[in-house]
């Protein structure tokens, strides 16, 4: 298999950002109440993550390294991510007003989704090539979307389940997330 495909598959399943590396848990818990909004959130995050991976690679290699500005890496990546998030918010507000109303605060919060900054920084640390970093970002985004959609559909069913009173609400969500995480740990060691 080509390297890029291996990176894509391993970041979706083996090194899943949410359930194995525990990045991006805030939108995972916050935006998974309804399947519709979870799909919207997943699409927005995929867009931002993939683009952020590509642009941060270019900034790193054509701006930061040639001018010896590596110490500005985190702040410049944050600026890029914030701009991309704002861009996707404008697009969503114009094309999907209802989705924008439902997601509300969670769209700006993609900025603080640690998975996005994590992908940009890990790309630098693992010295990926340009194609590899795009696939790394896409894989992280698809893994996040998969988890978000899985968890949202599960939560829609959990609402109707007969759960003992002390476990209702956040408690059963945490337990469910833990069990999904266990399932993903089953992939450990594959692909490398």
């Amino acid at each position: 298999m080509p390297d890029a495909l291996i990176i894509l598959l391993t970041t979706i399943f083996v090194n899943n950002f949410v359930m194995v590396q525990f990045l991006g848990l805030c939108p995972f818990m916050g935006a998974s109440q309804k399947l519709d909004s979870a799909i919207g959130m997943a699409a927005a995050t995929t867009f931002v993550l993939t683009l952020a991976a590509a642009i941060s690679f270019m900034v790193e290699h054509y701006l930061l390294v040639p001018f010896g500005l590596e110490y500005l890496r985190i702040i410049s990546f944050i600026v890029i991510i914030a701009a991309l998030v704002q861009f996707s918010e404008i697009v969503i507000r114009a094309t999907q007003p209802m989705l924008h109303q439902i997601l509300g605060i969670f769209i700006p919060l993609i900025t603080t989704n640690c998975a996005v900054l994590g992908v940009a920084l890990l790309n630098v640390r693992q010295s990926h090539s340009f194609i590899d970093s795009i696939f790394f970002g896409l894989g992280a985004a698809l893994g996040f979307s998969l988890l978000l959609v899985l968890f949202a559909s599960m939560r829609e069913r959990l609402v109707h389940a007969d759960i003992p009173a002390p476990f209702r609400g956040a408690a059963i969500n945490m337990i469910t997330a833990g069990i999904i995480s266990l399932a993903f740990l089953g992939f450990t060691g594959m692909g490398r």
Partner: protein
């Protein structure tokens, strides 16, 4: 070192702000759709108990982040529907929105004590659905079928001649469903005797789900009571069907009424805008002075 760092960051910032300003100009906001979707869930009584002049303004306020629990006529149904639409939490009705006279859950309408009315037309302007008819110096009266009981006509009345009366006109012959506690054994005997080939057993099981009843063609039931007699558990099936039918009819009536009230409210708003523009066309005091001067100079 510091200079290149500053320049580099400034470059990134400038490029991203250029991108953002371009996109925000290119895409136009469509908040109307959201407001319309919210407005369709509101009861269209235009009662203003939420603190906004009508249902549409309240819908716009909700879209901007206002609480969803401020609609007493809609009650818990509206709150849960809005929470479902907007992904917010279901909360109890805001007690500050409920007026004292409506606290009894009883529908009220305004009635003018006609012998005391001085014909000032102030209440006519206050009514959001134009339910008060009358002319200056002539007695006014309330169109009972249009009044939503919002009390907005009470404060402007200079002689306090408007009372709120409980709406005596109850919906015609409601049949409350018989007390549950009957045990359907799912024998299917009722299905064999039904002359319209309906499924009385299924109709009974899904009696609380209107959409299911619709697909089971409850409307086709002719209330012949043959299923009642066939039932070995002696369930009064026909009574359940009759109450379900009436409930559906009432809901349709309410929806029609809401549409009608909305149309009246919009007409009221249009009229208000038109009259305010008429007032605006009159010259202001400054303009009057200059106009007078101009006329005087002409005469000279």
């Amino acid at each position: 070192m510091v200079l290149t760092g500053t320049l580099g960051l400034a470059l990134i910032g400038a490029l991203s702000s250029l991108l953002l300003s371009r996109t925000s100009k290119h895409f136009v906001n469509h908040t109307d759709e959201v407001v319309d979707a919210i407005d369709r869930l509101l009861p269209q009584t235009q009662c203003a108990q939420c603190g906004y002049p009508g249902c549409k303004p309240y819908a716009a306020a909700i879209a901007d982040g206002e609480a969803i629990n401020k609609c007493p006529p809609g009650g818990d149904d509206t709150i849960s529907a809005l929470a479902d639409l907007l992904g917010r939490k279901v909360t109890g009705l805001d007690p500050s929105c409920r007026k004292a006279s409506v606290a009894t859950d009883e529908q009220v309408i305004a009635v003018i004590r006609e012998e005391e009315c001085i014909g000032c037309t102030l209440c006519i302007k206050a009514c959001p659905v134009d339910a008060i008819v009358g002319a200056a110096q002539l007695m006014h009266t309330v169109i009972q079928s249009e009044c939503t009981g919002c009390e907005l006509c009470l404060p402007p009345c200079p002689v306090d001649c408007i009372d709120l009366h409980p709406l005596a006109m109850q919906p015609p012959h409601t049949v409350s469903p018989p007390a549950s506690g009957f045990e359907c054994i799912r024998c299917g005997l009722c299905e064999e005797v039904c002359p319209r080939d309906l499924l009385p057993q299924d109709l009974y099981w899904y009696r609380d789900s209107p959409s299911k009843l619709e697909s089971l063609e409850l409307d086709q039931c002719i209330e012949c009571r043959r299923c009642d007699r066939a039932c070995p558990s002696h369930i009064p099936l026909t009574d359940f069907f009759r109450s379900a039918k009436l409930e559906k009819q009432q809901q349709i009536g309410q929806a029609n009424r809401a549409q009608h009230t909305l149309a009246r409210y919009e007409h009221h708003l249009e009229r208000q805008v038109a009259s305010s523009q008429l007032v605006r066309q009159r010259p202001s005091t400054d303009e009057k002075a200059s106009l007078l001067d101009a006329i005087k100079q002409k005469r000279r």
